[in-house]
């Protein structure tokens, strides 16, 4: 998969970049981090203009995120009930709804560039929890622009080591997701212990 995606970028340039990041943002697993780093390398080799690369990749990602948000928000009652079943109860959805309103902006922003594996889920959850579309879009555009600029800049700096840098960033991103999961689960265990003690 990785090979085809990167060959498409090498051959078709910006249109392929736009399409691939948009598809990935909807939730299809494609190697976007590596793709952006290779884009940076191509920019360093003057094959692609760096401004165009950042603009095109941000626009594609935002489009994909909007599709994910729309599926969550207007995906119909079947999707809503499946989401509720996944969470356990409508009460949980209401709690997530409250949390999305409180933490929504930060969640959207950081999942665009720091904990990227969570991005597609946050899009769906934001839509399902009816988080404000305008706020979602503002944080989405800011996060995606920062993320694309960051990864493309890294690709420019390490233009002769793109595969190694892509693999390191991918692993670091998953390590961060695992740390966040451990903190949340640890908090859950601590609360259970406190509840048992009383």
């Amino acid at each position: 998969m990785s090979d085809q995606v990167l060959a498409a970028l090498a051959h078709y340039g910006a249109p392929a970049l736009f399409a691939i990041v948009a598809i990935a943002a909807v939730g299809i697993p494609l190697p976007v981090t590596l793709l952006l780093i290779v884009t940076g390398s191509l920019a360093a080799q003057r094959v692609m203009n760096v401004g165009v690369a950042i603009g095109v990749s941000s626009a594609g990602s935002v489009l994909g995120d909007q599709i994910g948000y729309a599926i969550g928000r207007w995906g119909g009652s079947a999707l809503q009930s499946r989401f509720i079943r996944m969470l356990g109860s409508p009460e949980r959805l209401r709690r997530i709804d409250d949390k999305a309103k409180a933490w929504g902006g930060a969640g959207v922003f950081f999942s665009r560039w720091l904990v990227t594996p969570l991005g597609p889920w946050i899009n769906l959850a934001s839509g399902a929890a009816r988080y404000s579309w305008i706020r979602f879009t503002v944080w989405d555009v800011l996060g995606e622009t920062l993320g694309c600029a960051l990864y493309i800049a890294l690709g420019m700096v390490f233009s002769d080591r793109v595969q190694a840098v892509g693999a390191i960033l991918g692993d670091l991103s998953w390590a961060l997701v695992a740390v966040i999961a451990a903190v949340l689960l640890g908090r859950m265990l601590f609360r259970r212990k406190s509840a048992d003690a009383t």
């Binding site: 990167l6 060959a7 090498a10 051959h11 190694a164 451990a182 265990l189």
Partner: protein, 108 residues
């Protein structure tokens, strides 16, 4: 004896799994970061010849000659596509490029 809920056991297992995953990915990232400067970028079929030359600080002309193609720095076709056009397996082109890189002096 205190009753332990299955749900609590599941949370404990998920907690241990998350910590294990954090260490695994963190360790793999740090190992790769240490090796990054020592190892050359492997040649892949998605790379173009000028891309391979850039990654290995080599002269693109040497690489084009190694796979019997006219020297064209604007030829951005991936190795996979060159292989299709030339009716040879991509692995063969990659081998020829690697041989040329092993012999070539670094680009000034």
């Amino acid at each position: 004896m205190r009753k332990i809920h299955y749900q609590t056991i599941a949370v404990i297992l998920a907690f241990c799994l998350s910590i294990g995953a954090a260490f695994f990915f963190g360790y793999r990232a740090s190992t790769m970061a240490r090796q990054m400067r020592r190892q050359n970028e492997p040649i892949r079929a998605w790379m173009s010849v000028p891309f391979v030359a850039h990654a290995h600080h080599a002269d693109p002309a040497i690489l084009f000659q190694a796979i019997h193609l006219p020297v064209d720095p604007h030829d951005r076709r991936p190795i996979r596509e060159i292989a299709r056009d030339e009716h040879v397996p991509p692995a063969e082109l990659i081998r020829d490029l690697q041989k040329a890189l092993d012999k070539a002096p670094p680009k000034q």
